[in-house]
């Protein structure tokens, strides 16, 4: 062994290199406060390792990026852990970098001869920010898509080159394949390359200048401590610190279940929860204070000035007063950033529309995973196709858009937004379910806004019938009515009620027979299994079934339904207000079929 190593050393001289790397004198001995640089390097190395592994499974294209990240996250063994580490280590890198820079400013370590190294550090900060920005888009989910649009829009207001810069960055006029390939090239090639060069330069300069022990005259010894060496004293402390960083990251990954992945990006789909990563939130909030054309001040001029001032700190720091100014300036900026961040989150939390949008985003994220795991899987056209054909996703939107001006759904507009006033037409949550029908036939409820309260039917025969005849029912008749409800509800064959319908088969049969009886009297106005006297109300055969509901939404004025007595319900089908597919999605959603 020894011989082999000797031979290798003879041919390569690795021992001298190793010694050069490890035997670094540390004036005043090893210290915990010298660990930050090493933890940062560690974080970067972790990003390289996990990044390369992610790269091996990632596909940068508009119909494949989300899908491949879904695959990594939900199918690949340990993929969620891998991606989780990459995600949270990015946060850790940000924090460590800012801590490191703060430490340098506080210690005055940016002063001569270390100015250049301070700038290297600053440049590193921007590269890390760039990595974070480009990485945020790569999963191609709604969150990354819309948040990144804000960032590239800001790039486009850069004086002179703005529009060209934006176009070159996103690879065209619009987001698409080339946006992903370009962002990926930046994220995995250009920026990491620059990072390596800068870190190498930074470490080289650091070795050249040695650690900063503080404002002591050269040669003074720290509390009489003897000089230490990097290996093994400082190395041990560094390693322990790196382990602690890793433990913190792992804790976050496991606690949160990994990095988030929203629903796939869709330019035609509103996304009201668009927010950048938390360390960009202050900028996001900052922009709200710059009306109209002052945006350039907030987005470019002021940040540019702040960065210039920071870059000039080494010169200002030559004077005692200048150093104080630098400290104050850094403190002010950090306080400002903290305040803006806090304001941003506080305002969002207090905004019901934002909270609702966030819930919708989470629901959509869960839903798409369910669909992708479903029997059909993800088609080559991408996961968006799944969402666009999904009643649970499209139903609420269609409802909010086309129905909620008259109807409510569980008191809201279908999307979870509270309605300022009650709607004129019925609340359709649980339509045709036992519970819904029981309420309809309840004299107390039928004329409330939940059912016919706001419509012409409030003064119609149905309401009168319920309020006079049913109100007078005795206990036996009430029992019969309950069976009728079960029978009628069974017509809908609602998936959620399948087990109940199955269990109550006998009662349902009884109810079906009772429905036609005179004591209940439904068939005086409604068709039921071919029996009715006058066709006044909607047919009850197949009430609430897919076929019935499709027909009803299509055209409520059809003689099968309200005929001439229809009150304001548009003919969505014949008038082509809704396409067949859209009606199908609405029906599927209302019936709970997904």
């Amino acid at each position: 062994m020894r011989l082999v190593l000797d031979w290798i050393d003879d041919r390569t001289g690795y021992r001298r290199l190793l010694r050069a790397a490890l035997v670094e004198a540390i004036p005043g001995g090893a210290k915990w406060r010298y660990v930050w640089g090493s933890t940062l390097t560690f974080a970067v190395v972790v990003q390289f390792i996990t990044g390369l592994a992610l790269w091996a499974s990632y596909s940068p294209n508009a119909q494949g990026a989300w899908e491949s990240v879904y695959y990594i996250e939900n199918v690949m063994a340990g993929g969620w852990l891998l991606r989780g580490i990459h995600h949270y280590m990015a946060h850790a890198t940000m924090i460590l970098l800012v801590l490191h820079l703060m430490q340098i400013v506080v210690a005055g370590a940016y002063k001569a001869p270390r100015e250049v190294n301070f700038w290297f550090g600053l440049a590193l900060l921007f590269i890390v920010l760039g990595l974070s920005l480009t990485g945020y888009l790569l999963p191609w989910d709604q969150q990354g898509y819309w948040a990144t649009k804000v960032a590239t829009s800001i790039a486009s207001i850069t004086p002179f080159v703005g529009p060209a810069l934006q176009e070159a960055l996103i690879g065209g006029a619009d987001y698409g394949h080339l946006t992903l390939t370009r962002f990926f090239a930046l994220h995995a090639g250009v920026l990491p390359g620059a990072l390596i060069v800068l870190i190498a330069g930074h470490v080289f300069l650091f070795r050249r200048h040695g650690v900063t022990t503080g404002e002591r005259p050269a040669g003074a010894r720290d509390g009489g401590n003897p000089d230490g060496q990097f290996w093994p004293d400082q190395a041990l402390r560094d390693a322990v610190a790196c382990l602690a960083v890793m433990a913190a990251v792992l804790y976050l990954v496991i606690r949160t279940g990994g990095a988030p992945l929203g629903a796939p990006a869709d330019a035609s789909e509103p996304y009201a929860a668009a927010r950048p990563e938390w360390y960009f939130m202050f900028l996001f909030q900052w922009l709200t204070y710059f009306p109209a054309e002052t945006e350039i001040l907030g987005a470019i001029v002021i940040p540019g000035l702040v960065v210039t001032l920071i870059a000039l700190m080494p010169f200002a720091g030559r004077w005692r007063l200048g150093h104080r100014f630098n400290l104050g300036f850094t403190g002010t900026i950090l306080a400002g950033v903290g305040l803006l961040t806090w304001l941003a989150y506080a305002q969002d939390r207090a905004d019901p529309e934002f909270v609702a949008a966030q819930h919708r985003a989470e629901a959509a994220a869960e839903r798409i995973v369910e669909l992708a795991r479903g029997p059909d899987g993800i088609p080559p056209s991408g996961a968006l196709t799944l969402l666009r054909n999904d009643p649970l996703t499209q139903g609420p939107q269609l409802f909010a858009d086309r129905c909620a001006s008259c109807h409510s759904y569980d008191g809201h507009d279908g999307l979870g937004n509270e309605l300022a006033e009650a709607r004129t037409a019925a609340d359709l949550k649980g339509f045709a379910s036992r519970e819904w029908l029981t309420g309809l036939l309840d004299p107390e409820q039928i004329a409330t806004p939940r059912y016919f309260g706001g419509t012409d039917f409030a003064r119609g025969r149905m309401v009168r019938m319920v309020q006079s005849r049913i109100a007078g029912f005795d206990a036996a008749q009430r029992d019969d009515l309950a069976k009728v409800v079960k029978a009628l509800s069974a017509e809908a064959a609602l998936p959620q009620q399948a087990t109940l319908d199955e269990a109550d088969r006998d009662e349902i049969a009884e109810g079906a027979a009772l429905l036609a009886s005179e004591s209940i009297g439904c068939t005086e106005c409604h068709e039921w299994r071919g029996a009715f006297e006058q066709s006044l109300g909607p047919v009850l055969t197949g009430f609430g079934s897919r076929e019935w509901l499709t027909g009803f939404i299509g055209d409520a004025s059809h003689p099968r339904f309200y005929g001439d007595s229809n009150d304001r319900m548009p003919a969505f089908g014949p008038d082509e207000i809704l396409s067949e597919a859209e009606i199908g999605l609405l029906v599927g959603w209302l019936r709970g079929e997904w």
Binding site: S156, E167, H209, R216, A272, L287, P291, A292, A420, I577
Partner: protein
């Protein structure tokens, strides 16, 4: 503390030593050789660097995609209530190496009063977010930086970050259909400039 630690100084000394032992060329010849090396080396890199830059800037040279009107909705599907309703814009779209037939590429708000229809792009002129109709349907609000617009798309709050009103689009009613010229516009400036 500007002393150089020993460890870092060592390799440097070694390098200087090795170059120092090489025989020095005659000054004039050395100068010419140096210039030659720089020129030849630079030339060798010219083609790759140039073609790389060309490729990076290629999107700037691409001809703009066509902006013909496309059908967006049946007229009857736009309620005659003066309130904006959202419609997907589905059209053919070339995305680099793919040609998509009937791809949802964005959305518009259509607002109908009688038989006239106005169309607004849903994209916020501030920084590109998807503008929402407020829950009470009285105005538009952008969920990002809270720009506020009235139902015709005009900025209605001077504190709005948006530099201009929401972008109107050309509309035509053909038979019973609403056709719209779907375009996106550069964000963050007062004038409405279509993205190329």
């Amino acid at each position: 503390m500007s002393e150089k630690p020993q460890a870092a100084a060592e390799p440097q000394v070694a390098e200087e030593g090795s170059s120092g032992t090489a025989p020095a060329p005659a000054p004039r010849r050395g100068f010419l050789a140096g210039m030659g090396a720089i020129a030849a080396g630079g030339l060798a890199f010219l083609a790759p660097v140039w073609s790389g830059i060309r490729a990076a800037l290629e999107p700037l040279e691409r001809p703009p995609q066509d902006t013909d009107l496309v059908p967006v909705a049946k007229l009857a599907a736009v309620p005659d209530d003066g309130v904006p309703h959202k419609f997907r814009v589905v059209m053919d779209r070339v995305d680099a190496w793919n040609t998509h037939r009937q791809l949802p590429v964005g959305a518009v708000y259509l607002r109908r009063t009688g038989d006239s229809v106005e169309a607004l792009n849903v994209v916020c002129p501030h920084a590109g977010c998807f503008v929402n109709v407020a829950a009470d349907r009285s105005r538009f609000v952008c969920p990002c930086h809270k720009s506020s617009f009235d139902l015709s798309g005009a900025v209605n709050d001077p504190a709005s970050p948006s530099p201009r009103d929401m972008d109107t689009l050309d509309v035509e009613i053909r038979d019973d259909e609403v056709w719209v010229r779907f375009q996106n516009f550069l964000p963050g400036r007062a004038e409405k400039e279509p993205v190329a």
